[in-house]
Every structure is written in C-alpha cells, then in structure tokens.
Amino acid sequence: MTAADLAGWPGPVAHLADVEVRRGRRTVLHGIDLEIAAGETVVVLGPNGAGKSTLLQTLGGILPPASGRMGMVGRSATVLQDAGLARRSVRANVELALAWWGVPRRERRARADAALELLRAGHLARRPAGALSGGERRRVHLARGLAVRPELLLLDEPFAGLDPDAHDRLTLDLATALREAGTAVVVVVHERRDAWALADRIGVLLDGRLAALATPDELEVAPPTEEVARFLGFTGEVRLPDGLLLAREIDLALVPPADRRPDDLDARVEQVLRREHGRRVRVAGESCSAWVETTADVAAGEQVVVRIVGGARFPTPTIRT
C-alpha cells in the first residue's frame, strides 16, 4: 500500500490513544491522543525537551509506547534532521533511499527524478552530493522521503540550520510538494511561521502533553489554554498613553483585527503593569475588559503597560473611561 492507495481511505493512517512513552525511567510523553488522516499534514510545535522528537520516533516505530494503543496503516518513513548524504550523485542518493525501502531497481530512477522535481531539485540530479549547498542538501534529503511514498511521512525539523532566505524558499516549496504528494505527514518544526505555512492541523506539545491539536485558524482564534497562547506568541504589551490613570477605573476593550469579528475573540487582559514602581497592579476579570483594581499610588504622567493574552494576535485595546 502506498500514500496514493490511501486516497479516500476513511480511517486514520495512524492513531495514538492514551500513549505514554518512556526514556529509561523518565516519562517523556503522557496521554497522547492523536489521529492522522490520509493526506493530512500535522505540524508539531513545542519548546525544547517537550517530546517532539520522541513523538516522531514513536510514530516511526523506533521507540515503542510504554502504554496506550497505537495503530498504523502501512509503513512510516522518518526524514531525520541531519541531512546525511552518501558519497554519490544526488540521484543515486535518492535511489539509495528507494533501495533501503525495498523498491525494485527498475522503478528507482523515475521515482527519484519525480521526487527531486517535486522539490525543485531536478536540476541537481547529476551533481555530487558533496558539492551541494545547505539548502540543496536539505531538498535532496527531503526528496528521499517523498520518493519512497510512505503511508506516513515524518519530518524532523526540515529547516534546521538553513539561512533565512533558503529557509523561506524551502518552506514554500515543501508546502507545495506535500500538497502534491498527498502523503500523510507529521512535521516537527521550531518556528511558528513554518507551522502556519505547512499545517492542516497544529499540535502543541508542552511538557510531554499534547496541549493543543487544532487547525491554525482555530488556534489563532481560541487557543485552548493560556500556556498554549503564550507558547504560540499570542501575547502583547500595549503601552497606555500617559496621564490616563487618574480615574479609579479604566475599562479596556480589546478591538479585534480588521479580519476578525468581535465574537471571534477570546482574548483577555492578563495584567496591568506599572513599570515605574516595578510593582504589579492586579487586574480583575477575565473577559475582554479589565480594570485597574487600585490606583491609589498611580500618579498622572506615569506609564502603564497592559499585557494581553489571547487568541487573536495582539488586539488593540481602547480605553473606555
């Protein structure tokens, strides 16, 4: 069975139910529930040590779960972070991966060339692997994964170590290639913008738990927890104009960005900080408005900063005193 055979497959290509994974005595992944549909790209984000690579190794069959259930249709192939290429031509490197996968010799060249074309690396086919730039090496490395056409393709930080320009170009080309290939993919990335460029759904791993699993739009509008919102960078600080804290209460209304309706918002004011005194002023309420609970020692001319946590990125507060 190949990814193409799975087109229209009603069930998930892979599923994990309440999976726990240990490394030695340490539990790295806790209670992971995850289903990956045919043709879907799931991007996994998380801070260092959250368990992203462990999740990939579990899906790749390298690290078995300590408990829980796991199932998969067909085989998975993992494209590791290190783009290790053999002392051969680019085409021969892709053909080598096909040989590892067990593809008959007569099919290898055509599949290698097709995969290289998919990643806009067809012109490199005859070049020695040792003569490639970092970005080109990464394209060849990824082409190996696409060439074998696994039912589930696992990519571990495919943009690691690339300069910004090569990174941006490869992100766009990989997104296109994955859509054309139609393979179910799980990608671990480090930068949030890569997740938004590639993902059908984004999973956020925090401390070994899948803290969020939703589409980019859903996450942007309503991250499930404050931790997730913070991790995704949906926080902002807005400096209020001087001299507005003479009033005892200030009502801060969060105005959604132009492309959002007010009811899309699930943002809230988290804190009001008084920078000058270095003391935090507690804010009551968790809705779209907040007020300064005490302003006794706040004088005119002092600067006050409002920190916002929420779904819609950096909503602008307006002041209704």
Binding site: D82, A83, A86, W100, P128, A129
Partner: protein, 238 residues
C-alpha cells in the same frame, strides 16, 4: 654501495632470466599474502563492523584489544602457532606444521587485527546521520552494513593494503611455522633472510628488490582502486 649495485644487477638478471625458483617464491608469497588477507577480511570485517558501528557495553575495551593486536610480534605469533601445531598439541591432528597451510593460518592471525582495528576505525568515520537515516527508512542490517562498507571504502582499502603488505614482507611466522622450506613454503622475505644468513648478500638484496617491486605493484593496484573513479567524480559529503 657496491652491494646495492651488485644486488640491482643480480635482481635484473634473475628477473630477466625468469629463474623458476624466483617464480616459485613469488607464487608462494602471493598465495600466503592474498589468501591470508582474504581470510582475515572474511573473519575480521564482521568484527570491524560490530566495533565500528555497534553501540554496546565493552566496545571500548574490545577496540583496545584490537588496536593492541596491531603490535603483535610476528615471532611470538609464529611460536604460539608452531607450538599449537605440534603433533600432540590441539592443532596437531591437522598436520599443519611445516606446511604452506600452516603458514597461511599464522599469517591470517597477523592480518586479522589489522583488518579489525583499521577497519573499525574507518567505519567509525562514516557519518552517523547517514546510517541513522538508512535505519529510519527501515533498511535491513545487511543494507546498513553494505552502505557503511561502501562509504568507508577508502579507509578499508588502507587496512587491506596494510594486511597485504604484512603478508608480503613478514618472516617470523613463516620461519617458525613453515620451517622456511625452499620450494614448499618459503616466501620472498624468508628467502632473503636465508640468503643473508648464508652470507649471499647480493642474492638476498636481489630477492629483496623483487619483493619491493611486488609490494609496489600490489599496493599501486590497490591504491588505484582506493582512489577510484567514482570517488573523484562524486566527492565526499558528511
């Protein structure tokens, strides 16, 4: 200086003259060297793969043993094998003492650590990322090993050159196990030793020069293979 000139002239005369005993010596030398190196490759390469690619407890200690094997005194190896091949000894029933097969076995024991230690060192230089990637694509162990051998071919051929060189020029084990019997198991190196002991210095030097030529030809062939066309064309990548 005169000895060298006489030796060169004698070597030229012997080679041009096509002396049958010379061809006999060359044949025995090549047999001992190539068969023992081949056997050492067959026996030693799996161990080199284990030490070069394996991750297990005790690997470091085994590497120390293998490296120590590079310094094995040939005389000691020859003595131990000769004693083992005595009629009442464990290998006595195979009647190997003072035979070409006995010499080949002793020489294999000398070439074995060369293949293991230098081979393991060459295999350790193969980028781990490449081998891990093969495993991540579910490549069989055989395919991973074949990939490692291919990628480490330059270093592995250096190990083979060292083993062949040792087989061509080694004397101690040949003399002690084989008895240095002319026409049976005498090699070029042990024949040179015999001529020198008989104060036939020009003969000894002539045989030495023939031996040197043989070493040059064989190592040149192996070096050509080592620096093969594919490597120049494709280049190295990590």
């Amino acid at each position: 200086m005169r000895f060298f000139l006489d030796g060169l002239a004698e070597a030229w005369r012997i080679v041009i003259g096509g002396e049958p005993w010379l061809w006999q010596l060359v044949t025995v030398t090549l047999k001992v060297s190539l068969i023992s190196t081949g056997a050492a490759i067959v026996l030693g390469l799996p161990l080199a793969l284990l030490l070069g690619l394996g991750r297990f407890r005790g690997r470091g200690a085994l590497m120390v043993v293998a490296n120590a094997g590079l310094g094995l005194p040939p005389v000691l190896v020859g003595l131990v094998f000769a004693l083992l091949m005595f009629p009442e000894a464990p290998l006595g029933r195979f009647h190997l003492l003072f035979t070409l097969n006995g010499v080949i076995i002793a020489q294999t024991a000398l070439a074995f650590p060369v293949i293991v230690a230098l081979g393991a060192a060459a295999l350790r230089e193969v980028p781990a990322g490449l081998l891990d990637q093969a495993r991540a694509f579910h490549a069989s162990r055989f395919r991973v090993a074949a990939l490692a051998v291919r990628e480490a071919r330059t270093g592995l051929l250096a190990a083979i050159i060292a083993a062949v060189g040792s087989g061509l020029s080694e004397v101690g084990a040949v003399v002690l196990v084989g008895g240095n019997i002319e026409g049976l198991d005498q090699t070029l190196a042990s024949a040179a030793l015999q001529r020198v002991e008989a104060a036939r210095f020009a003969d000894g030097l002539a045989i030495g020069i023939v031996l040197l030529g043989l070493i040059l030809i064989i190592t040149a062939l192996l070096t050509i293979v080592q620096a093969g066309r594919g490597m120049r064309r494709v280049g190295w990548s990590s």
